[in-house]
């Protein structure tokens, strides 16, 4: 059995054989996990620190899907703030 092919077509980011964190098992990456934890901390702040800290949650980026070597339509993704 070619394990490389098995892994390449698996949608899971890693094999589930090793014991690991609950967020990894749920399909989250470390960055996603720590971003959620940081959101929880920022939500618990008092004003005025809270509105200043919520600026850290802003994001703004372009994304496009490439298919067969052709770039698709660009989509701007922005945070709600």
């Amino acid at each position: 059995v070619n394990l490389v092919h098995l892994f390449a077509f698996s949608t899971h980011p890693f094999t589930m054989t090793t014991p690991t964190t609950f967020w990894r098992l749920a399909g989250m990456t470390y960055v996603q996990y720590v971003s959620r934890a940081s959101s929880a901390v920022r939500g618990a702040l008092k004003e005025p620190s809270k509105s200043k800290a919520l600026q850290n949650e802003k994001f703004n980026f372009n994304s496009s899907v490439w298919e067969s070597g052709v770039q698709g339509k660009k989509v701007i993704k922005e945070s709600a703030i």
């Binding site: 967020w23 720590v34 929880a40 702040l45």
Partner: protein, 196 residues
């Protein structure tokens, strides 16, 4: 004469071999000394590192405590830093073994002097790197001082998160998200001294 030519040829071979003896790699005395010289410099390097680890000269660590959006401490000389890692709480002083640790949601305390009151920060997560030259880099995603945390919001978030965790299906993404909230709010509540 045949016998004479064999004898002379034998002595000729001996003579030719004697010409090459000085250039062939053999276990000569000088080679062994070179090996011992290299080994002793390596031993001296190890001894230097050990001496630095156990020396009394450096009493402070140089602390760099930063977040993506700014630094709390930059090249600050402090005596003790207490951190909360996924493997448990630990304190760092000068000469600590170099290591990398993943920070868990919890308190980080900076003691300028060991006898003074520390500056307390609640860290949401990140990594701490201790270097051999007593430099400590703490890379936190969010580190807030305890005075900035609102206990009422923490309690409300904690009860909401517990309810969400109970309601979510096991091993689902919602359960994982709720569990993150429960863990972080529990850590904040204990840092603020709130009960249960």
């Amino acid at each position: 004469h045949k016998y004479h030519s064999r004898v002379t040829f034998f002595y000729l071979r001996l003579f030719v071999r004697s010409l090459f003896i000085g250039y062939l790699p053999v276990h000569k005395e000088s080679n062994m000394l070179a090996f011992r010289r290299v080994a002793s410099t390596q031993r001296k390097a190890v001894a230097n590192v050990l001496a630095r680890s156990f020396s009394d000269e450096a009493t402070n660590i140089t602390l760099n405590f930063a977040m993506p959006h700014g630094a709390l401490y930059e090249n600050e000389e402090v005596e003790l830093v207490r951190l909360t890692s996924c493997a448990g709480e630990y304190g760092v002083t000068a000469g600590h073994t170099p290591n990398v640790s993943q920070l868990a949601p919890g308190l980080a305390m900076v003691y300028k002097n060991k006898d003074d009151e520390p500056e307390k920060f609640f860290v949401s997560g990140g990594f701490a790197f201790m270097h051999p030259n007593s430099v400590l880099d703490v890379a936190a995603v969010e580190a807030v001082s305890l005075d900035d945390l609102d206990p009422k919001i923490v309690e409300a978030q904690l009860s909401d998160a517990r309810a969400a965790l109970a309601a979510a299906a096991a091993d689902s993404v919602e359960a994982a998200e709720a569990q993150i909230e429960v863990e972080v709010n529990t850590a904040m509540a204990s840092a603020l001294g709130l009960s249960a």
